[in-house]
Every structure is written in structure tokens, then in C-alpha cells.
Amino acid sequence: MEDQRLTDLLRELPREHARPGFTARVLDVLEPLDAPRRMAPRWSFRLATAVAAATLVAVAISAGALRGGARQHREAVQARQTLEELRAEHGRLEQELREISAPPVVYLGGDEKVDYVLDLGKMGNAEVELSGASATSATPVAYHVNTF
């Protein structure tokens, strides 16, 4: 009996109706959304944009890499050139140093047959030798017989 009463009660529950303006409210909320049809091009547009952006980035990276490679090559050539210049400079300096460090020779005089030349490179030994002798007895330690 209760079962039947319950069934009756359930069945006679009044049907509810949407309040006036329900559809308008739904459409108002819908307004900012895009229609499904418009969503398709939007998707393709987004996809195209993403692909274009990715391509651009790839091109930029490649160009950067190429440019970087060229720059590296140019720098290497420049470095080699600088190294050559440094080596040449080093050689010149060494030569000059050798020339400077060579002891000077003093021309003392002479005649048509003999030139008296004092080789200062040998002065160290001469001083040792002269230390015990008088200054007046100094003699040239070397001389060249060649005339100029």
C-alpha cells in the first residue's frame, strides 16, 4: 500500500519550468564564446601561427649558427695572422737584441797598413790582466789588420 502511495506521490510531483529569461541568460553567457564553426578556423589559425613562429625561431637559430660559424672562421684567420705578425716581431726583436748585446768595437787609429781596434767584448779579460799592471803599459787586446 505504501509502495503505491509513494509511486503516486512521486508521479504527482509538479513539473518545474525554467524561469522566464532562461534562454536569454544562457545566450548571454554564450556570447563571449565562439561558435563551433568559428572555432575550426581559429584552431587552424592558431596552428598556422604556431608553425610560423616555430619556423621563424628555427631560421633565426640557423642564421645565428651560420653567422657564428663565419665569425669563428674570420676570428681564427685573424688570430693566425696576428700570431704570424707576433712571431715576425719576435724574430726582429731577437735580432735587434742580439745586435745590441754584441760588444761594441772602438776604432783607436792606425795608418795605411794597420788599424787599431779595441774590442770591448774582451775588456773583461783585459781588465783582469791589467789589474796588476800600470795604466801606461796598456796595449790593445786585439786589432784588425784589415783596412776600411
Partner: protein, 196 residues
């Protein structure tokens, strides 16, 4: 002899096809056609008229958003009810989690305005709605679809994805629980019989 022109209403399937093409007028027609059913179903499911209206609005919005994925199966209302049921399920799950998180906060009880004095049947309806809202959702859905919407067990089983026997069992258990909740009305005399 002039033949009277009969304006044939487009079917749900035709309207949905137009909605997929972005036709808002078709969508408006669909909302107008099904809004009362959805609001009524949700009111029975939630026991709260205002909440039902909000959820019905969200149901139609979801229908619109998923229009492209919708596959015509011949019964759009069932699809709408499924969306609505899922919304209620999600909302109740959220509420349960909230209650677990905030056990010390008093929960605001939703009460329908009191019925005018003497209108016992209306009061009984209110009690019935309140009792139904307290049933577990799985019983509520089966009960509302079968007892109020008049769906067959087979259709309900198909719609909610379970066996026919399960639906029968849920309807039966739902009814049992309803009877228990409405016990005072059964034993307190045939109050509801007096007004009607």
C-alpha cells in the same frame, strides 16, 4: 484548392547539426525545447530550485561547447540529462571534500520558503523533494529517471552504463530509503490525501 502549409519542426538532430555549424538560432531553439525538462530533472535531483536553474544553464553551455563532439544517437534529452547528472555528481563531490576540509563550519541548510498554511499537499511535495535530495546520487538518478521521468529500466541502464538489474536494485533501494525518511507521513495519517 489550397493545401494548408504545415510547418514541420526540425528534429533535435537537425538542430544539433546546425549548432555544429555555429547557428545560434538553432541552439536557442534547442534550449527552448528542453529547458523545462532539464530544470525539472535537476530540481528533483538536487532538491533546490535555484541550484537546478544554475546547473541547467551550465548544462546547455556544455552542450554548446561539445556540439562538435556530439554523435547523434537519436535522443538528445538523454544526452542533456547525462551532462546534468555529471554536473550534480561533480558538485556533490566538491561539497563532500569541502565538508571534510571544514568540519567545524556550520553548513547552511537550504530551505524552501514555507508553503501557505493549509496547503498540505504542497508541504508534502516539499518534504518529498527534501527527502529525495538526501538519497545517495546513484539511487536518486535511478529513481528520478524511472519514477518521475518515466524511463524504462533498459534505457536508464544504457544511459548510466550499468546492468538493468542494477538499475532495478537502485530504484528499489531508493524507494525503501524514501519510505523511511517519510515515515511520519505514512504513520501520521493520510494528511496528503486530504488535500487534492
Amino acid at each position: 484548392m489550397s493545401v494548408p502549409m504545415v510547418l514541420k519542426q526540425p528534429s533535435d538532430a537537425e538542430l544539433m547539426a546546425r549548432v555544429r555549424e555555429g547557428d545560434r538560432e538553432a541552439f536557442t531553439d534547442l534550449v527552448d525545447r528542453h529547458k523545462d525538462a532539464v530544470v525539472s530533472y535537476l530540481t528533483r535531483l538536487t532538491g533546490d530550485r535555484d541550484r537546478a536553474e544554475d546547473l541547467a544553464q551550465e548544462t546547455f553551455l556544455r552542450l554548446f561547447r561539445s556540439a562538435r563532439d556530439y554523435h547523434e544517437q537519436g535522443y538528445l534529452r538523454a544526452y542533456l540529462f547525462r551532462i546534468a547528472t555529471n554536473l550534480v555528481r561533480s558538485e556533490e563531490r566538491r561539497e563532500r571534500r569541502l565538508r571534510l576540509l571544514l568540519p567545524f563550519f556550520p553548513r547552511e541548510e537550504h530551505a524552501e520558503p514555507a508553503a501557505p498554511g493549509g496547503m498540505l499537499r504542497r508541504e508534502l511535495h516539499r518534504e518529498m523533494a527534501a527527502a529525495m535530495a538526501k538519497l545517495p546520487l546513484r539511487y536518486r538518478v535511478a529513481l528520478v529517471l524511472h519514477e518521475i521521468e518515466g524511463w524504462s529500466y533498459v534505457d536508464i541502464a544504457q544511459e548510466i552504463g550499468c546492468r538493468e538489474g542494477t538499475v532495478k536494485s537502485r530504484v528499489h533501494r531508493g524507494r525503501q530509503q524514501l519510505k523511511q525518511k517519510l515515515e511520519p507521513y505514512w504513520t501520521g495519517g493520510a494528511a496528503w490525501k486530504t488535500s487534492g
